[in-house]
Symmetry: C2
Subunit: 698 residues, 2 copies
Amino acid sequence: MTQTSMTPPELEVPATMTIADNDQAVVNVAALGEQLLGRWAATRRTARELAGRPEVHRIEGLSPAEHRVRCFDQLHYLVEHQAVHRAFPAALGGSDDHGGNIAGFEELVVADPSLQIKAGVQWGLFGAAVLHLGTAEHHQAWLPGIMNMEIPGCFAMTETGHGSDVASIATTAVFDPHTQEFVIHTPFRAAWKDYIGNAAVDGRAAVVFAQLITQGVNHGVHAFYVELRERSGDFLPGIGGEDNGLKGGLNGIDNGRLHFTQVRIPRTNLLNRYGNVDDDGTYTSTIASPGRRFFTMLGTLVQGRVSLDGAAVAVSKLALKTAVQYATERRQFNAASDLTEEVLMDYQRHQRRLLPLVAATYATSFAHEELLEKLNGVFSGEHDSDEDRQDLETLAAALKPLSTWHALNTLQECREACGGAGFLTENRFTSLRADLDIYTTFEGDNNVLLQLVAKRLLADFANEFRGVDFGVLARYVVTQAAERTIHRTGLRRVLQSVVDTGSEKKSAIALRDENTQHELLCGRVESMVSELAGELRGARRMPQAKAAALFNEHQNELIDTARAHAELLQWEAFTAALKQTGDPGTKQVLTWLRDLFGLTLIENNLAWYLMHGRLSAQRARTLGPYINRLLAKLRPHSVDLVDAFGYGPEHIRMAIGTGAEKERQDEAMAYARRQRASGDSPIDEKTLIARREKADAS
Amino acid sequence: MTQTSMTPPELEVPATMTIADNDQAVVNVAALGEQLLGRWAATRRTARELAGRPEVHRIEGLSPAEHRVRCFDQLHYLVEHQAVHRAFPAALGGSDDHGGNIAGFEELVVADPSLQIKAGVQWGLFGAAVLHLGTAEHHQAWLPGIMNMEIPGCFAMTETGHGSDVASIATTAVFDPHTQEFVIHTPFRAAWKDYIGNAAVDGRAAVVFAQLITQGVNHGVHAFYVELRERSGDFLPGIGGEDNGLKGGLNGIDNGRLHFTQVRIPRTNLLNRYGNVDDDGTYTSTIASPGRRFFTMLGTLVQGRVSLDGAAVAVSKLALKTAVQYATERRQFNAASDLTEEVLMDYQRHQRRLLPLVAATYATSFAHEELLEKLNGVFSGEHDSDEDRQDLETLAAALKPLSTWHALNTLQECREACGGAGFLTENRFTSLRADLDIYTTFEGDNNVLLQLVAKRLLADFANEFRGVDFGVLARYVVTQAAERTIHRTGLRRVLQSVVDTGSEKKSAIALRDENTQHELLCGRVESMVSELAGELRGARRMPQAKAAALFNEHQNELIDTARAHAELLQWEAFTAALKQTGDPGTKQVLTWLRDLFGLTLIENNLAWYLMHGRLSAQRARTLGPYINRLLAKLRPHSVDLVDAFGYGPEHIRMAIGTGAEKERQDEAMAYARRQRASGDSPIDEKTLIARREKADAS
C-alpha cells in the first residue's frame, strides 16, 4: 500500500480544505426520520425492532450448510413472532394488509438478505401463488401449512433455459382425462426448474409453472401445486433435483434444480383462479385473451419486485450511514495545516462520491413509498382496475432496476470510500454487496424490465392518438420533426445563450428552480418517447423479422428512455415529499438535496440536453460548479441526513459505522497533544534543513 | 423470476433481429493472440501452463482456514517450479528479468487471486523491499530464505490510521546508540500495522516501515527488517497481533495486524540503501532532500501496482471470454420468428453492454504492455534516470486505477449478462469480483493515485514555462483564455456546423478518422490541464490553508483530468499496437475495435466536447448511431476477439464459458425438431383462436 508524491517539492501544493458553510439551516432528524418511515411507520418500527434482534442476524463465517440451517430455523422464529402473515387473509390468521406486509418484510434485509429472500420464497412467492392463483379449496388445504412452515415450499417458475422469458418455459402439464390427472414433465435439461429457493433441501412442495395442455391445445403457462418430498426428505417418484451449490451471495438459501419425469398430480392441483380444466378436459377461463390471462396471472406476483425495491433502499441507507459517519471521523493527509489532518468528508471528491448517493437514496426511498401505496391500492381492492394493475407493474418495472443498481453502486462506492476497512467482512459492505448482486437480475432482469417500461411508454404514446385519423398523426409527427429541426439548428440554444450572457449567477438560479429541473427532466422523456415512436412507427405494418430488426436497432435508446422516465418518477416523488416537509430547516436542506439529485441527473445526461438545444453551453458550464457549491452546503448536514434513515447500531453492526474510528482518532490526537506538551516530539528533518538554510543565509 | 408483457397484444412489437454484416474481414486469431502476449510471450506461455495446473487452482467452497493452508502450500509449489524468482539476482538463483517477472507473476491471477497476492506479498513486496531497499549483506542474509520460503514474511507499511498517506505513519524506530539498536514502537492503536498479508499466521519476519528517529531528528519513513515469530509460531517478545478475519475476498491470505512495544532490533537491520545510521547515531543519505528520498524509496515498490494492472487485464479477459461465448449460445425471446429464439449477442443492448468492454480490455492490455516495457527499462538499469522513474510511477498511477475499476465493471456486467448462471460460484464471476475488489484501493487508492497523476501533469505544465519570464507566461495564459472565449462563444462550433451541414455521413467519416479521435482526446486533456493550471496558478504564493481550499475546490476536476489523460494513454497504446498488426483482416477488425474504444470515450464525455465547442451538436448526434453500426460490424467477430486472449478451458474453468449452454440448446432444439416432425406438438391457444376467427369470418 504504497503512496508517493511525484511532484517536485517546490511544486508541492496542499490538497484540501473545508469550505465554510454560512447557512444556518438545521435538520430536524427525528421529524425527517418519521417522514421517511412513511405511511406504514408503525409496521416498519415493529419490523425494525425484530430485525435488530440477534436471533435473526446473519453470523458471518458460518459455512453455507450452517447458514442454510440457521435461515431455515429463523423462518420458524418469524412465524412465532408474527412477522410474516400480514398479507394473508384475516380468516386464516393474517391481516389482509398488503402494503404493510411489504414494508415489514423488506426491513428483514438488514438482519440478513438470505433471510429476507428465504422468507420471500416461502410466503411472498410460494404462499402468494397459492393465495392469488388458487381458489378457496386450495387456500384451506395448503395456506395454513404454508403460513406456519409445516409446508416449506418452492416457487418453481424459472428454468435453466428460460428466466425472464417466462412465456417460453418448456415444462408441460398434460391433462389425462382417464385418470383425472395432470402429467408434469420436463422434457430436456434446459426445461429443468433452476435457481429455485428451497429446492435443494427444504422444499416439501412447490408451485410449478408449466404449459397447460388439454385436448391437444396448449393454453399457456399455468401454476400447479406439486408435492416434492417425503417427510424423510427423499424426492417422490419421478422427481429429482440438484443443489445449485455455492453462489455469489445469499448462501443461506438452498437454491436448486428440479426435474419431473411424467409426474402425475390430481386435476384439482391446478391453481385455477384464472383458468380451469373440467373433468372431461375442457379448458375454461374468465379471461378470453391468452396474452391478458398470462399478464394477469403473473401480475399477481409483482410484490416480489416491489419488496426488492424496498430492500435495495434499506441496504443503501445502511451503507451510507456507515460510510458518511466514517468519513466525518477518519482523517487523512494534512494539506491545510501541519498539525491536523483533514476529515475525509471535507474533501470535494469524497463529497462528490457520497452525497449524490445520499440524494439518490432519498429519491429512491420516496419513490418506493409511492410504489407501496400503489401496490396497496391494487391488492386491497381499493384501486384495482386493469389500468391500476398495469400502472403498478410499470412502476415496479421502472423502479426496481434503478434501486437495485443503485444499491450495488452505493455499496461499492462506500466500500472503496472506507478503504481497507471497507473490505473487512466485519464492516459488512462486501457481504451485503454479494447478497444484493442477484437483485439486479432476479424477479425480472433489470434490462428486460426497462424494455417493458419503454414499450408501455410507447403504447401510451400511441393511445393518445387512438381514434385520431392518420392526417392528425402525420401532422403531429411533422410538428415533432419541426421541433427537432429547431433544436438541430441550435435556434433555441442560441436564444438561451443570449439570455444568459454575462450572468453565471442567473444560470445557477435557473438551474435550482424546481420548475426548470422538472421541465428539463420531463422534456427529455417526452422528446425521447416521441422520437422513438417516430422511428418505430412503421413497425406494426412490417413483416415480423423486419419489425424486429427495426426495434433492435433502437433497443439501446428504448432502455435509455425507460431509465430517463424512471429517474423522472424518482425526482417527482422526492419533490412531492418535499411539499410534505414542515420544518423549515429540514425543508431547506432537503431542497438542496433534491436539487443535487435533479442536477446530477441532468449532469449525467448533459450531452443530450446540449445536443437537443435544451441547455446552452454557457448554462451547462455553470452546472458542475453549482453542484460543487451544493455539496459544500450539504456537507455540514451529511451526518444528520444519514441519521434520519433511522437505523440503530443493532441494524448497522459495522465497527466503523458505530464509533470505532472516532475512538482511534481521539487516542492518536491525545498522544500527539501529550507529545507536544512534553516537548518529546523529535524535530522533522525538513524543518531542520529549513532552519539551517535560514541560519546559513543570515 | 417473473416477467410479463404489459403491452396490449395489438401493440406487441417484436424486439430483436440481427443486422447482416457485409464486411468480409476475418480475424487471424493465432496471430492476434501472439501480439497480445507481447514481448514476454515465452514467459507468459510458461506461466499460463503453470496457472492451468490443478495444483495451483482455487478450490471453491474451502473454508477460509483451509484456503489459507492451500495457498501457503502453493507458494512452495511455485518455488519448486521456478515460477517466482525471475526478478532476483542471478547470483542468488534468479534471472534479473524484471519485465518477465511481472508478466509471469500476473498470470497467476487466473489460478487464484489469493495465490497471486500471497506470492506478491512474499516476493514482490517483502522480498523486493529487502532487495531494493537493503544492501549486499541484507541480500546474503535473507534473500535465499525469502526466495525458498524458509522465511515467509510481511510487508508492514500500512497502518490502521494511514494507508495511502504513507508519509504520516506513526510507528517509530528510535536509535539507541548505547545498545546499537533501533526501538520499534507503535504508540497507539491507529499506529498498528494493518491489513498485512502473512501477518495473521505465516509471517516469520517483516519489513516494517517506521519513522527513523536519531539524535532527536525524525528522518522520515524507512524500512527495517524485524523478526516476528519463533519457529513455534509464537510472537517474539514485545510483538503482538490480530487476525483481520474474514474479508470481502482474497481469503486465502492471512491478513492481520501487528503491534510493537519497544521492540529492539540491531542497528544493521535498517535497510540502508538510501539512508544509514552510523554507530554514533549520525544519519547519512545519498539523497539530500527528504522528499526525494521518500519518493525514491517507495518508488522501488512500483512493481506491485504494475502487477495489479496486469492481473486486472487478465481477469477482464477471462470474464469476457465466458460472457461473449455464452451470449453467442444462449437464446432468449423470439421476436423475429415464431420458431427460433435470438442469441443474446444479436441484441443491440447486449452488444452495447459487452463489446465496449472488449474494446477497453484490448486498450488496457496494450497499455499494460507499455507499462511493463517502462518498468523493465528502469529496473534493468537501461533507462533509469530520475525522469524515467517518475514516468514509470506516473504511468502506473494512471493505468492501475483504470484497469482495476474496469475489471470490476467487466466482471459485474458479465455476471449480469449471464443472468442466474452468472451468479453461481461455478461460473467464477462473483468470486473473481470479490477478490479483485480490493485491487482498487490497495497499493495506492485509485482516487489518490489519479490525484498524483494530475499533480504531475500540472508540474509538467509549469515546467514548460520554467525560466520563461512572467510576461511570456501571462501572454500564454491570455492565449488560453482567448481560446476558451472562442469556445465559449461557440465560434468554432458554429464553424463546424457549417462544414457538417447536411452530411451525417461526412460526420461519421470524420469520427472514425484516427487523427480526429486523437485530436479530440488529446485536446481535451491539454485544455483541462491548462484550465486547471490557470485556476490554481496563484496557489504557490498563498498561505497554506487558502491554497489547500483552492485546490480542494478543484479536486474533482483534478481527478477527472488524470482520468482523461490515462484514457488517452490507453487509446495511444491501442493505436500503436494497431500499427504492429500485419494481417489485413485482423487489422480491419481491430481498427473497428479501436474506433469503438475511442468513440466510447468521446461519448462518455460528450458534454465536455459540446460545452467546449470541440464538437458541433450535429456531429455529436451522429456518434451514437455510428457506435451502433460499429457494434453490428464487430458482432460477427466477437468470439474471435475473446478467443485471441488465449486462455484455455484450464484457465477459464467456468461451465458456461466452455460449452455447457451450447449442449443444452442443441438438446432443446433437437427435441423441438422431433416434436414437429412427429406431429406431436399441441396447437397453441392463440393460433387456435386466430383460426376460429378466420373460420367464423368466412
